[in-house]
Every structure is written in C-alpha cells, then in structure tokens.
Symmetry: C2
Subunit: 317 residues, 2 copies
Amino acid sequence: MSETVPTREAIEIAHKRVEPFIHHTPVMTSQFLNDLSGAELFFKCENLQKIGAFKARGGLNSILSLSPDQLENGITTHSSGNHAQAIAFAAAKVGAKAFIVMPENSPLVKINAVKGYGATITFCENTQEERERVVQEIISETGATFIHPFNNYEVITGQATAAKELIEDVQDKLDAIIAPVGGGGLLCGTALSAHYFSPGTKVYAGEPEGAADAVLSFRSDKIQKAPYVKTIADGLLTTLGDKTFPIIKAYVTDILTVSDEEIVGAMRYLWERMKIVVEPSGAVSLAAVLKNKELFAGKKIGIILTGGNVDLGKLPF
Amino acid sequence: MSETVPTREAIEIAHKRVEPFIHHTPVMTSQFLNDLSGAELFFKCENLQKIGAFKARGGLNSILSLSPDQLENGITTHSSGNHAQAIAFAAAKVGAKAFIVMPENSPLVKINAVKGYGATITFCENTQEERERVVQEIISETGATFIHPFNNYEVITGQATAAKELIEDVQDKLDAIIAPVGGGGLLCGTALSAHYFSPGTKVYAGEPEGAADAVLSFRSDKIQKAPYVKTIADGLLTTLGDKTFPIIKAYVTDILTVSDEEIVGAMRYLWERMKIVVEPSGAVSLAAVLKNKELFAGKKIGIILTGGNVDLGKLPF
C-alpha cells in the first residue's frame, strides 16, 4: 500500500483503473438553484454512482491495487454504511472474498445490499472497540487485507477521481468545489484533484454542526473529536485520520458548518427541483453554499452530491 | 402550423431549434434492473429535463415555430399539469406572453411554477367545456395562439427529440423503446424517431389499466374513451387525438397495460435503486417491461422516464 500523499499520476492511474467498473456520473445544473444561490452551480451526481455513493471509487481503487496474493486471502472492513457496500461491490468485481463486520443494529436494507454482493457478514456490538476486535479476528483467521474507509491513500486516490471528472466535464474553470467532510477521504481526494488538475480552484468542506470535529481540528491544528454528535447526516459522523488531516490542512480553504434544518432544506430542493434522490450527508455541500451566499456570489461552484442511500419510509419531509 | 405528419427533417430541425433551451438529459443504466428484468435497459431521464418533464421539448418547438406576429399576441393553453409549465417556460424563453387556463383545483405547486415563469393564469371550473370556453375567450380578446398539449404536429415533433437523443446516445441498436401513452404526443414522437433514426426498433406504449383508452382505440381501430378513469398516473388521463391516433396505428407495435400497484412498484425501484425522482406516469414504461419479461428477455430496451413532478408530501410509499 502506498505510504505517500497521492500524486497527480496516482490519481490518473486510479481513474483508468476504476473507469471500467463505475458510472461516469453526470454533472447537472439547475437554473432555480443558480437563481437562489446567486452563483453558478455544477452538481457532480455521485448519488447516481454504483452502490449509490462515491465510495465505490475508493473501494475499487484500493482493491484493484492489491497483489494477487493479497486478493487470494480476501478483504475485510467494518462499516454500517456505504463503505461496507463499496468493499463488497468491489471485491465481487475482482472475484475476491469480502469479510464485512457490521454492527448488529445496522439497517436491514444495508445488510441486504452487502449480502447481495456475496460478501460474508459478521455482526458485532456497535462499539469502535468491538468492530476493530472482530476485524482483527478475521485477519488472524483468513489473512484478509483490511481497508480503512478513509484513512488510506488508495481510498483517497479513488475518491479523487470524482472531482477529476467534475473538473474535466465542466467547460469553464471552477472558482471553488465543495465536498462534505466526515473522515475526510472524499475531501482529501477533491482537494488533491483541484490542486493538480485545476490550480487556483479553492476547495471548501461542508460539515454538520452536530458532528463538527473537522472544523474544530482545522482551526485548532490538531485532530479533535466533535463537541457532540447528533445529526441527520449519518454518513459524516467519523473524525479525521492521520493521513487525511494533513492533506486537509494543506489544501482546503475552509470548513463551513450547517444545521440539520439547513441540510434537510437543501435536500428537499435537490429532490423537488432537480428530481434526484440525495441522502442528508449528500446535501451538506449545497446547504453550505446556500448559507454562505456572499462568499460564493457570482462564482462558478462545483458541488459534490455524495450519495443517495436513504430509507424512503423514513423521509424528513 | 404544420398540417402533415412530421418528417425526418422536421425532427432534425426541431432538435437544433430546442437544443439551446433544454437539458440534453442523461441515459442511465442499472445493473439491478437489468438483472430483475432479464433485459438490458437504457433509461432516458426526461424527469431531469427543464420543468421536470419532456413537455418542455414540445412546448418549445411549437412556440419557436410561430411567426413574430403570432408571438406578439402571445400563446394560450389549458392544462393543470406539465403542459402548462412547458408553455409558460417556453413563452418566457422567447419573451412572449403566456395565458394559461388552469382548473381552480390545480395543485398549488403547479400554479406557483406557472406563475414563476411569469405567465398569466386564468382559473376556471374543472370541466373540459369550461376550459375550452375560457381559452376561446382569451383568444378572442388577445389573438393568442392556442397550443394543444398533444394533438399538434409541432408538439409531436418536439417530443420526438427525446427518442432521437436516446437513439443517438446508446451505442448499440435498441430492439425496442417504450413510452407511456396519454394523449399520444410523446408516443407519436418516439415512434417517428424510431422509424426515421433506428429502423427496425419497435415502439411499445405503457398505459395504466385505469385510463385504458389507447389500448382500446388501438385494438378497435377507432378513437375511444377509457372504460373507467382511476389511476395514480395523473399525467395519462387524456384520450388520443385525430393527429396522434393514425401515427400510433401506423408505427406502434403494441400497447401494454399495467396496474397502479405495478406502477408504484416500478416507481419505487427507480427512486431506491436509480436515485431519481420519477412521477407515477413516468414509471409506467418500466412497469410494462417488468410485467412482460418474456417479451423483452435478452433485448436492448430504451425506456423513456417522462417526468418527476411529484408532491413529496404525498408519496405512495
């Protein structure tokens, strides 16, 4: 596994590597949301990606980077969310075994999706310690390779391909790109792609007020936990890692927090006006733009819509 | 206004004419729905079109075909649905006045959308007679040109551009294209584009059991009303017209009916699996494919997803 910050060439290679397996998702625009924001918005629709989220990119790139010997022993991770699906999906694509550790209270729809890709699921109590302990057990028994959901350079490099496509597909130069931040895998990939493929394009993060670890870490120059964790954006609860934090410090301009009400409002605009299903975590970037109109007024802004995996029976509107 | 069945050249001209004003909507695919149907499905996402429906195409083409004198006097139509928005939107694009007659019980969201494009709304009782009477009054007072929602060759020609794009964007030759049928404007356009741009590609229609006028007309060789009208697919309630019926007879292979339960099931797949918002009328084509698996097994099928204008507060799931 790579031990250095992803280079321009690494992202280009990753893009060629994952392209055959992913959707080249569309970049959408909305006159209504341009008028509302006062900016020109370009939405990179990773909610329309395979498995319904950008995480397919990082999962694929990390697994496609493994040696035949490593693949032979399979892959393992712990996740209750989109990363579990991404690893199960990517492992199936290369014919490798996937051992996914999921908290026993995971939503049935996610459990079924992981099963649908043929992965072996081991359930555990929903604590970080238990999740890691069970993964360690699996590694001891099988020799499987652990793939971290974000604190992994191959994962970051894979996520970077989303912003690379956005930059290439938008004819004009973007003034800024906004991505949400949880553990920071997508945000790092976005920042690196902007740095290499569109120098001068600023990168901002959107973060829920109810999981505000990244903004605190960014401002205090030290990885910190969130003061409290309570948000509808359930994909953004994790804290930064030692690989993601330095990249964010170096290449991200600022982190903008938004309330759950602002997230749901942005989500509703995306559903009603753009006719696309976006999960709360995926609507955080738009919420950040709509909250900071003066910052983005008159600018060309790329917005990464990260995922669309939401339970239709439990909508917030 | 044209008084002959649209030619290949008319559709090509219409496409160039409307292109600057519309979204070139994406063609999406879903491995899950391919597996479920046993066919290879290509979804033309007109739910992502301007105004949230393909009707923007016909509205634009008909209005862009008018003379400067006609435009000077404005445009009028009656509609409680997507055609009202299409005419209001297209009139605004060319700077013409739009006089829209809407039933007084129209959904507020549609009234606001029409107002949002700057159109003048006249409310009336919700009977066909009253709608036509009020439109006639407007024509007498203003000299506005009436644009019928489907029984109009410029409208049909505009709708044809959706299937033309689908045919051009899918690399392989399609075995069939399925479109829903209400008054038949989209279905005629689809059938003509298949005939001209992809000879050999069959065209089928999907129709709700609770508005089954087209299948009855098709089989009896005579325009007929539906035996009863009760369906969730509120965009497909109208009967065929004297311009649409002959084209359907000549170029459509068959009309397949589906129940409301099948429509809602297909709609749910589109939302959950493809992450796009599709209205019930827009899910009818997929419902028809899933109901007739043996007919489409192993084939390459184009499916036109017609619209995404749905009240999020009143979802059927």
